[in-house]
Symmetry: C2
Subunit: 146 residues, 2 copies
Amino acid sequence: MAGGGILNNTEVRKQKRKRNTRQKAVVYQVVLDSHDHPTAEKVYERARKELPNISLGTVYRVLKELSQEGKIKEIIVNKQSHFEGRTDFHHHFICRSCGKIEDVETPMCRYTCRKVEQKGYVVEDIEYKFYGLCSKCAQKKGIELE
Amino acid sequence: MAGGGILNNTEVRKQKRKRNTRQKAVVYQVVLDSHDHPTAEKVYERARKELPNISLGTVYRVLKELSQEGKIKEIIVNKQSHFEGRTDFHHHFICRSCGKIEDVETPMCRYTCRKVEQKGYVVEDIEYKFYGLCSKCAQKKGIELE
DNA sequence: TCCTTAAATAATAACTATTCCTTATAAAAA
DNA sequence: TTTTTATAAGGAATAGTTATTATTTAAGGA
């Protein structure tokens, strides 16, 4: 049969078709406006103020899409995804007492990368996490111990 | 009523009693003998060769105990726990193609730590993860692209 | 040695974050 | 406007893990 196996112009155009939905726009905006590294559930909560009928599944899917498109970043803490609008190179400090996640500005450790690359590895992504007590919780603990 | 609220000697001794079980010994040995950062499920599989009736729940509980005692280390990759017998300061490279986890010897980044501590944070633990392609997968991909 | 006791176990139910599935809806092409 | 199909909503399903409970067993003492 003619045309079998190879896509014609119409089919190619169809494949590329992408829709611009309000749900995606709202979820993206919520992440951009949030500076506390919200979980999917928190993003859902906030998005519902704008779009009361949005579903949690949609939030999860859109968050994954946006991450893959490089528009937002996913940070995993305690096996749970958190999201942020900052996409430049930086890392995170996680307070074990209050759970707060804070950004840490860090230069990439060239020495380490070189060492890894010497083994023939290709480094695509680097993730540093610092765990401990944030200043507030450290202070509180200091007071308690006195 | 007499004696209420305060523990007597017998009660104190009872509280401290800890049992040495075959299950715990076997799970520990399995982790020490494994050099591939096994998951709980994999540890379970291996422990069953020695103790066919051991339960998965026990494996999970013992792995957590051993981690808390500092005898083994837990590494979380893709929201899944892996375990290793090495407990000294080192980090990990994770191959996105084959999933292999490899140890990376790294000096602690003093500059970064100092920067974090300047904010009044108390750093208790540091975790570096490098994601990419291991030498084998990088080579394979190189060949494919030719 | 046998008893006692509570810590640890096996078995299994429950939980939680996330993904998958199905039907319905709506954005964009025609 | 009509058609097309990507995306949405709602809910079921899944995976990894933790909690619960009745049972077993290691350890200390009689």
